[in-house]
Symmetry: C2
Subunit: 336 residues, 2 copies
Amino acid sequence: MARSRSGATPAVKIVDVAARAGVAPMTVSRVLNTPDRVSEDTRARVQAAIDELGYVPNLIAGGLSSRRSRMIAAIVPTIASPMFSDPVQSFTDTLGHAGYRVMLSLSGYGNTDEDALIRAVLARRPDGLLLTGAKHSPGVRRMLRDAGVPVVEIWDAAEHSTDMLVGFDHAELGEAVADFFAASGHTRFAVLAAGDPRGTARRDGFLRGVARHGGAVVAQRTLPAPSGILDGRAALRDIAPLLGERTALLCSSDLVAFGAVTEARVLGIPVPERLAVCGFGDFEISRGAEPPITTVAVDGRAMGRMAAENLLARMDGGSAPGRVLVPFRILARATT
Amino acid sequence: MARSRSGATPAVKIVDVAARAGVAPMTVSRVLNTPDRVSEDTRARVQAAIDELGYVPNLIAGGLSSRRSRMIAAIVPTIASPMFSDPVQSFTDTLGHAGYRVMLSLSGYGNTDEDALIRAVLARRPDGLLLTGAKHSPGVRRMLRDAGVPVVEIWDAAEHSTDMLVGFDHAELGEAVADFFAASGHTRFAVLAAGDPRGTARRDGFLRGVARHGGAVVAQRTLPAPSGILDGRAALRDIAPLLGERTALLCSSDLVAFGAVTEARVLGIPVPERLAVCGFGDFEISRGAEPPITTVAVDGRAMGRMAAENLLARMDGGSAPGRVLVPFRILARATT
DNA sequence: TTGTAGGCGTTATCAG
DNA sequence: CTGATAACGCCTACAA
């Protein structure tokens, strides 16, 4: 906080500005927060005082008084993957334009104590909360409810949401990919999935779809979460002997898919003739790679933006949709 | 903030806990902040009251009183690139373990008003600040000084730092790459650089190095910031006619380098025989691609961690190095 | 080890 | 349109 280092100018406060402008502190506050309710004259005088003194309002004090922190907390597993950095980026941007800041917490994929994390976050009295996924302990749900804070969950629409939600059903997506493959006459399938809840859900949906089509699952591997290019390469090398004549492979992300396609090239496995590959996420690499990789597109940036907008609507006292299902779309490119 | 929605439980405060435990509010505060100074007996009783009531301390009130927000602000251009998401990730992690939260602001690459952004950030009274780059307007420097907040700047060591710095000289790095290429007998050079300050600095250093070696610059393009795979592909296609017998190309990031290598393959330009490529950043793609791409490695995660540690040291009243030069290392792989 | 008094800097509220 | 007063919820400083 603005405790000035020894020898520095003591921080300018609202009373200093008020004194300088010859008005009451409350008027300065109005100039800052509701300028319309101040005469143009006074406003100019106060603004001059603010500039001359270099006054920077203390939003912590303001927050305590107004009970609004103008701060939103976002909790995501990591920002090392576009999967989360994209939504966080647009979420932060959108809220920033509305005068809100985002407090970022990274929960990782391990067995972090979500209860403790949420408690620590709520202690900062955010005006709203962004969570990843909709599966939370009863303790967490109770804390959120008691806090009375608007919550928006992203990415996962399988669970019942705590408050608001922007996402889709990952299992459904997995099934859609199985349908897509089956429509091309595939009968042998494989899947490389990261071990996180959503990667797992996509895999399970895929397997269900495969079963529905009477297909055979020739290989199945669980990768670390988050997983990357090198995981994909290693996994493909691992399952290569099992591929046979013609196999359709679903990967839990475009990075994994790119790794698989790359390793296939190294091993001399023709793509898509002998190995068809579908990724997930429509990351730049799936478009930029040669051959371009078939993927399932989900607009992460739109998710972040919508999450922000819903939160803003609710904080403005309005209402917002409790559940927004974002579309996913299979982009057939050169690897299928 | 915890204004309870109509009908919800009113927020529990420290006095409620105190009453329930039969102690003074101050004792509850001590149990929370300095448990050592409370008798085991009392502590247990208070803790029980806390649990029973589901008390979540209000750190905003605490912050106003103690003048410590236990919050650090981070300002980076974007988190869409590993260049920044890596440092931010480790920065956030490191501080999180020390009980600090990170307030994230994205400044973009455009002509954002840094003054206004810094002012808005300082209004939240962060205990510390992470900035990208060390080039700031006099106004910004003055605000930072007046605020008396520890500041750590990352990525850029060319400018004189405001307070603390963790980075390196990008021009020097560019020169080192020119030396590296020249040592392999290259005489023709090209460069694809993003238009941001650091990409530009690397390019300029590279050009200086090339000149020193008496080399010829056959092509030079400025890419958007941040730039990606597709920018690299397009740019390589653009400069392909200029490449001649054997050219050494520096790209401003591994994504651009991957794009260049990919497009070269498509165009039938042999890498590294006719086109040698060096990227920057040691992103996973440079390791995971085939062929693996020569790059300059800088440990972004370490930068973020060190930035956090220096800030923590200073906030603990200790001292921290004013200037940490992080090493960069050319990783010769298959594209040179 | 525990308690009391007072203030952190701002804004809600009501009055003029 | 402007001002006075009283919180907001906690912690520093000092006292017991």
